[in-house]
Amino acid sequence: MKRRTLMKATALALSLGMVSGAALAQDDKVVIGVSIPSATHGFMGGLNWHAQDTITRLGEAYPNIEFVLSTAGDAAKQVNDIEDMMATRNIDGLVVLPFESEPLTAPVAAVKDAGKFVTVVDRGLSQEGIEDLYVAGDNAAFGRVAGQYFRDNLEAGSKIVVLRGIPTTLDNERVEAFQAALEGSDVEILDMQHGNWNRDDAFTVMQDYLSKYPEIDAVWAADDDMAIGVLEAISAAGRNEEMWVIGGAGMKEIVQRIMDKDPQLPVNVTYPPALISSAIEMTALNFVSNAPMTGRFIIGSQLITPENAENFFYPDSPF
């Protein structure tokens, strides 16, 4: 599926290149490699979709740019992919969302040493100064914006529970910022357990929270996949009226319910999977324009409210 779309995009780029003809000499051809984790959960599914969408669009817009997309299920496979891109496709630029920081640092540094343009997305490498361009969401803001909302919208003495993601530095940054935003308020965090950004795990954890705590006023599910599991557990326990839930990342089903003013889902915090599009687009611009494209580009986390929800709704995306 992925490969097919890609081949179509490449074929299209090639044929357009031939049609538009002489203006583009053969050695003007630019190859950009894109290496991202495979679609194992909702957010990554969205990210994969946006990556393919952007590649198709840019392939039409810039016939002289060719894209090579690969998705990897683990860090080792991703290292192989990048090495293959270097060896067989002779890439000029690399857009990489590292599966893990540590194992990818040396291979990406090797790409940079070969004189290629390197864009690192979302998860930083463990060594600074390798990449030309860094594009990422703001994990601290993701936690802070959510924490602020809880602080402003809960009465003193309210009790909340938190579901955490897979234990990673990314999750820690979010949770620390969330706690910092609540510091000094009278909102009490009853419990924080890992729901692993997974619907089923979140469902189980929330069921146990509901058995354990007779009073819960709000839930920070911290991710929309987890929010779905949480909402199901709450409704099975018949406690819908008692608490509201804040997810995160802007899944279309959740954004839809915010648009519909669902009292159980008042707002959401963005962490857009489309950040991969920004990264690919900026990397492409580096080759086709004179606009400077190096540095750090941090995409803020915004609050999705019923008023602005429409701007965050992508009905075609799987996420």
Binding site: A39, D191, R199, F203, D208, S211, S317
Partner: protein, 323 residues
Amino acid sequence: MKRIDLHLLGPLVALIALVILGALLNSAFLAPANITNVLARSAFIGIIAVGMTFVITAGGLDLSVGSMAAFLAGVTIIAMNAALPGVGENWGTILIGMGVAILGGIIAGTVNGLLITKARIEPFIVTLGTMGIFRSLVTWLADGGTLSLEYGLRTLYRPVYYGGIGWITWPIIVFAIVAILGEWTMRHSRFGRHVEAIGSNDRVARYSAIDVNRVKLLTYLLLGLLVGLATVLYVPRLGSASGSTGVLWELEAIAAVIIGGTALKGGRGRVWGTVIGVLILSLIDNILNLADLVSPYLNGAIQGVIIVLAVVLQREKRTAEER
């Protein structure tokens, strides 16, 4: 009482100890709502683990069940969504979905079984392969995202997971029936005796005029059928399936079978032990969530220790007896 019963009761003693521990740590533990939650949650793995008991007892192994469940859930959802315009929003559509899940499970199990018995490939390799295939297929079907059941159908289908007779919900009832039938089949049917015979020594079984390949194939078919049944109960819970559905279910099912006293090398199957193994695994999770005993980072470690301990206890008793 015969002496042999002592070590047979090992898993049961562990289960009772866990229940007492849970009740002491949190009074909410024994509330009917919590018991319903834990039992209903155990039902998916439990139903699969009963089938796994037969496969392992016959000397086989199936690593593909978690991915198979995810794949079947995906196909079931697609089938129901597709049937919706024609059949309408009624139980007919849901029955079609259930049929697809069960039939799909039988086909998937048969494919595993045929590759193992006819093509003579190691079960570990065959099911490792199909594990990857099913997992990729569901991710591909969902286009990397999540397959969701139409809202109206979900509302209709929901009671299959959440409803039941009083607080005993349907998954618990189905799990109980599967466990009882499984125990009966293993103990009292010819099929069960053949399964144990093949697991202890398949050459001797072949000389005793047992159709070894047919019985082995049937164990995989039965497991596929039960994975389909688990899917029928799983889909109404969240009404969705994605690439992250059913991850590691195969290992939980295998762990439950081994904790329950079935030998991993085959030849000795205990369905009721498997049921206890499943309950032990779910209870550990539940107690860790309810009790704040340790940092959540260590939950996996606690589970690991208990799994190993449960098996070690059985083994020591067994060797003592053999001496």
